[in-house]
């Protein structure tokens, strides 16, 4: 009976001691961090006599939004008027209105601040809670460089996080051609009724698919509209988290960019002939993918007589085969340009550019 009790006590001790040690380890580590952090207090908030209440610089805990607004009051505690021509910030996410102002001694000036809280560093991707810290430096009239100023800080809570805030389609989209799709993964960190993703009208098709495995995960599919005009495009897909109270919160955005290509495509996108001895001839094949059989090559132009393009008689299922023969006549990097004019069924002509790159070497390799 007595023996059992002793074992029990030792057992309890053996259980407590490691747990207590582990707890103490973390407590110690935490206290060391806190102690160190306390040593580095923020600089005094007065800059050339200008003062901002530190409380207004701390936005506290806020939800992630691209348009968080707050007001800053700058008071001139000095004896001289101070003219701020503009503000410089450590990230492009903070904007102040008005951009500059002169503040007389004893006066106060109000500024409307707008902070994009959706911007995050790559290492902050996926974090539901993160700190934000932006340096706000005034540039005084007559000064070239900004004067170290104040620190706007706070903690950002995310309703959702996304795998990437940007999508680059580059040359993947063909005008009136098949749609190119890209995906962004989203994770909800609060209970959601739904997730809404909206692109500007007629710019893209956007789908939001909730995951079957995990109700917190969503797959956002974005495809630029093939009817967009030829050339570069850029738009933003805004994400709204609809919480259980049916309120839609604008909480993130995906920037989409690319360049709409002609409906006729050349494979490969760029002809890389590589390094060749001068003088010599380098050759390569390309395939012209036409949208339909009644589209025909009208003519082919080159920017130099040293580039020769011939059409192979045999047509592959991939499209029309073209053979490029490039005379390498000069040393160094060179780019030749080929323009293929394609006649559409409606007799209109579409120009398809092809770039040929090569490097001329001296002597045999």
């Amino acid at each position: 009976m007595r023996r059992a009790a002793r074992w029990k006590h030792w057992g309890v001790f053996l259980l407590i001691a490691p747990t207590a040690s582990v707890a103490a380890y973390h407590l110690g580590a935490l206290s060391a961090t806190k102690l160190k952090q306390q040593e580095h207090q923020a600089a005094p908030p007065t800059v050339n006599g200008l003062y901002i209440d530190p409380q207004s610089l701390d936005i506290g805990e806020v939800w992630e939004t691209p348009q968080y607004t707050f007001r800053l009051t700058i008071e001139n505690l000095g004896s001289l008027p101070r003219a701020i021509s503009r503000f410089q910030t450590t990230c492009g996410c903070l904007k102040l209105e008005p951009q500059g102002r002169t503040i007389a001694p004893g006066d106060k000036a109000e500024f409307a601040a707008k902070l994009d809280l959706t911007r995050r560093s790559p290492h902050q991707r996926g974090l539901a809670r993160r700190s934000v810290m932006v340096q706000l430096n005034p540039v005084f009239e007559g000064d070239f460089a900004p004067t170290p100023g104040w620190e706007v800080k706070g903690t950002v809570l995310s309703r959702i996080t996304i795998s990437t805030p940007q999508l680059a389609f580059e040359d993947r989209c063909a005008h009136m051609g098949p749609r190119a799709w890209q995906k962004v993964r989203a994770k909800a960190h609060v209970p959601l009724k739904t997730l809404q993703a909206t692109a500007p009208p007629n710019s893209a098709e956007v789908r939001v698919n909730p995951s079957n495995d995990n109700p917190e995960d969503y797959l956002i599919l974005i495809s630029p509209n093939p009817a967009l005009p030829l050339g570069p495009f850029r738009f933003e897909v805004q994400l709204r988290a609809v919480t259980l109270d049916s309120v839609a919160h604008l909480c993130s955005a995906i920037e989409v960019a690319g360049e709409m290509q002609p409906s006729t495509r050349v494979i490969p996108r760029m002809v890389l002939l590589g390094e060749h001895t001068v003088p010599s001839v380098a050759e390569a094949d390309v395939t012209l993918q036409l949208p339909a059989k009644d589209w025909k090559i009208d003519h082919i132009e080159t920017d130099t007589t040293e580039t020769l393009v011939t059409q192979n008689e045999s047509e592959s299922p991939e499209g029309v085969c073209l053979h490029i023969s490039q005379r390498i006549g000069q040393i160094g990097d060179h780019v030749s340009k080929i323009r293929i004019s394609v006649r559409k069924p409606d007799k209109q002509v579409e120009i398809v550019p092809v770039e040929v790159r090569y490097y001329g070497q001296s002597g045999p390799r």
């Binding site: 001790f13 990437t164 580059e170 993947r172 009136m176 005009p229 996108r269 890389l272 390309v286």
Partner: protein, 393 residues
């Protein structure tokens, strides 16, 4: 590619009409054509088969670096290089020893003072740490205060990548780096998401019918993407790999294969590096020798610290803990003649706000002190409670 249009614009009635026509068109599915899916599945299957062919491999590579800079020092701009690479393909470890000539500016802007300098290197990854020898004497760094052996632990960061000039060796083993999964020393790209690839079509390259795969661009200041030229008849051997930065093909690998008893194996290759569209370096490599399944041991992947050496052990900060991911904590040691390591310097992690934390051992010391006090307290409590119980019985 840098785009200058800041917002999307509809361009008049023509655009509106085109939008109407497009909206009336049938909606295609997100997936690629079935034939493309089948081709992609076949490529992935071949790459997986390559991954399982061998347990280990040793390569000796010899080649040259051809410097193509506008200004160069006197001498032959084609310089020799050599690499011995030992791969543990089961446990994803490696050891690499090599020598190459590098362009040295010798602290001068005048090319007449520049020169080519031989550099020797040895590195290994043993599953837990990445190690490098400085080769102080061989590399002419006698007066440098650098460490002789550096050891990296924890999150090794984006810098711990294999050079692209070595990619063909990994491609042979079905380890295919892309912009979405880089070839890191501690994380080899073994599996890929089919959605990251586009089948662009088929094209001839040096008489080979190749399947062209393109990776989805990875966004950034300038988006980056890859283009693979693959011969499906040669176990999906990659004959050309181009890395694009925007529209600039900044790395081009042309790879030549030969048929061996293990299948299609890399023979030689050229790696052309063209930043800003201009050729700057051409690296040519040839497999001088290849040893399949050599006997390996743990010591092959651990660089030894010899007496007298200065050893720096760095630890990458854990992500998501509010620590600057680019600033590692480190401890520096001197290896004594007895073989013991004497600590001579220590540096802690740095927070995202730029505050340097005390080195880990300080925190550990404090933690153990508090832990010890708590343990003693618990013991005293136990003893006193026992005595009190005895007294009351």
């Amino acid at each position: 590619m840098v785009l200058r249009i800041t917002r999307w614009q509809m361009r008049g009635w023509c655009g509106a009409l085109a939008v109407l026509i497009a909206s009336a068109m049938p909606k295609p599915s997100v997936a690629q054509k079935p034939a493309d899916d089948a081709a992609l599945a076949s490529v992935f299957k071949d790459w997986r088969s390559r991954q399982n062919l061998l347990k280990s491999a040793r390569y000796v590579l010899t080649g040259t670096t051809e410097f193509k800079d506008e200004q160069l020092p006197a001498g032959n701009p084609i310089r020799p290089r050599r690499v011995t690479l030992l791969l543990d393909l089961t446990r994803k470890r490696y050891r690499m020893e090599g020598s190459e000539d590098v362009l040295s500016h010798n602290g001068s802007d005048d090319p007449r003072n520049w020169g080519f300098r031989s550099r020797m290197y040895t590195s290994a990854y043993g599953g837990e740490s990445l190690q490098h020898y400085t080769h102080r004497k061989a590399n002419g760094l006698e007066n440098d205060r650098e460490e002789d052996l550096s050891i990296g632990k924890g999150d090794l960061g984006p810098g711990a990548q294999f050079g692209h000039e070595l990619s063909p060796i990994f491609l042979t083993h079905g380890i295919v780096p892309t912009v979405h999964s880089m070839l890191m020393v501690d994380k080899w790209p073994l599996a890929h998401d089919p959605d990251d690839f586009d089948v662009a079509g088929r094209q001839n390259l040096r008489g080979q019918n190749c399947l062209l795969l393109r990776t989805e661009p990875s966004p950034g200041m300038t988006s980056i993407s890859d283009e693979f030229w693959i011969n499906l008849q040669q176990q999906s051997a990659i004959h050309r790999l181009i890395s694009f930065s925007g529209s600039n093909p900044w790395i081009r690998l042309d790879i030549y294969w030969k048929n061996t008893s293990y299948g299609w194996w890399v023979d030689h290759w050229s790696d052309t590096w063209s930043p800003n569209g201009r050729v700057r370096r051409i690296i040519n490599f040839r497999v001088e020798s290849f040893e399949p399944n050599p006997l390996i041991s743990d010591s092959d992947f651990k660089l030894q610290a010899e007496p007298g050496m200065i050893v720096k052990v760095s630890e990458g900060p854990p992500l998501g803990k509010g620590l600057d991911p680019f600033k590692a904590a480190s401890r520096t040691y001197r290896v004594l003649s007895s073989g013991e390591w004497e600590e001579i310097a220590a540096k802690g992690f740095t927070t995202l706000e730029g505050k340097e934390l005390p080195p880990e051992w300080h925190r550990r010391w404090m933690a153990w002190t508090i832990g010890g006090c708590l343990a003693i307290g618990a013991l005293l409590f136990y003893v006193s409670r026992r005595r009190w119980k005895k007294a009351t019985l």
